[in-house]
């Protein structure tokens, strides 16, 4: 099943030599533009949003980026590409009785084959090959693992996602596609695995089928990152706002709120807004929102601004190195 090569550098509009910081910036800019909440043309924005998320999932991770660059070197425009020797496809673990293939996870086929967590049991594939012996004895099918891209909105409210799982039986060569409805519970945290019973590899000799484990990957959000049920938002403030204090409107997962920045707020200081994170359980408990202050300086200043800063310099007794 050759997957079409994806040019992640083009997706993010960065060069192959881009630094991690440039990649992050490019991603944030595009994510803001194409986030389904803010974009005007929802349909194309959603596809684009998925594409940049996938590109960032790979290029934003030094390890995956290295792998990707190795793959890219073996790719040519004319006829797809040949994975370099020694490359194991993420999906099939190098020689199980079946091949499998996901759809609807929010990732492309290309991603699924090479970058998904798709190993069996979640450890390096070389370990996962059980001895084949004892023919005829019923043996349970292997578990299959994969990633599923979940937006923060979906994680907030929970959803049901159709996932198609194509399996190719190596013995018969027949492809079979199953569509299953996977329930993403409210408060599904990043890294959490959702078990779908009986949708792993088929059993052998009358054995039970394995399970499918889907690992939740939060789609990067232009405004928020998550850690467990807590949500983080970076708030850019001007130096005088940090020194004098200010009232700033900040976004949360459920509408904006007005946040009071106390006078004398330090850079990187965080403020906790209780109960504005992801749901924690069935009892309505929620994580918190942390607003992390980033003091930013103006890139260019006018003449008037310059003289104001100069005045400040002569008036101030502050010595940061004292």
């Amino acid at each position: 099943m050759p997957a079409q090569f994806k040019d992640y550098y083009t997706s993010l509009g960065v060069s192959r030599e881009a630094t991690p910081d440039e990649i992050k910036k490019a991603f944030r800019k595009l994510a803001r533009k194409y986030h389904p909440d803010t974009a005007t043309d929802k349909k194309t924005a959603e596809a684009k949003f998925k594409e940049i998320n996938e590109a960032y999932e790979v290029l934003g991770d030094p390890d995956k980026r290295k792998k990707y660059d190795t793959l890219g070197a073996n790719w040519n425009d004319a006829g797809g590409f040949t994975p370099p020797p020694g490359w194991r496809q993420g999906g099939d673990g190098g020689g199980p009785a079946q091949e499998f293939h996901f759809g609807g996870t929010g990732f492309s086929d290309f991603f699924e084959q090479y970058f998904s967590g798709g190993s069996r049991y979640g450890f390096p594939q070389d370990f996962s090959e059980a001895p084949r012996g004892q023919a005829g004895r019923p043996r349970r099918g292997h578990d299959i693992e994969g990633d599923i891209l979940v937006t923060l909105e979906e994680a907030m409210h929970g959803t049901v996602r159709p996932i198609s799982l194509q399996t190719v039986n190596r013995k018969t060569g027949q492809a079979q596609t199953d569509t299953i409805q996977v329930r993403i519970p409210p408060g599904a945290t990043d890294g959490r695995r959702i078990r779908v019973p009986g949708h792993g590899e088929a059993g052998h000799g009358g054995g039970q089928a394995g399970d499918l484990f889907l690992r939740v990957r939060h789609a990067a959000h232009p405004e928020f990152t998550t850690r467990e049920a807590d949500v983080y938002h970076e708030l850019d403030v001007a130096p005088w706002e940090a020194v004098l204090g200010a009232e700033i409107v900040v976004p949360t997962l459920d509408g904006s709120i007005k946040l009071k920045i106390p006078a004398g707020t330090e850079n990187a200081q965080s403020m906790r807004v209780r109960g504005k994170g992801l749901p924690k359980g069935k009892n309505g408990e929620r994580g918190d929102l942390y607003v992390v202050i980033q003091i930013v300086l103006p890139a260019e200043i006018s003449g008037a601004e310059r003289s104001a800063w100069e005045q400040l310099r002569s008036a101030s007794t502050f010595n940061p190195r004292a």
Binding site: G122, A130, G191, R193
Partner: protein, 80 residues
């Protein structure tokens, strides 16, 4: 939110005897809240035991290493 199972159900689901699960738990190989992560841990332990012929000491070492690798990967991801 996360569905939990009784020891007996967990044993049935994974084919690992209840005594073995209790032993794994005592050794810190599986967490005490029995949920889908526990199912995954047990399946992983069983696969290691069967395919690599590992004893309890080996399992302990490898399971901890694998968990640590996973945690570090998650931490690394969160830093982005």
């Amino acid at each position: 939110m996360n569905e939990t199972y009784t020891l007996e159900v967990l044993s049935e689901m994974t084919g690992v005897s209840t005594q073995t699960i209790v032993e794994y738990q005592a050794q810190g190989l599986v967490r005490s809240g029995f949920d889908d992560e526990t199912v995954r841990s047990l399946r992983r332990l069983e696969a290691l035991r069967e395919s690599c012929g590992m004893d309890l000491q080996g399992l302990k070492l490898l399971a901890h290493l694998l968990d640590e690798v996973e945690q570090l990967r998650e931490a690394l991801r969160a830093r982005r």
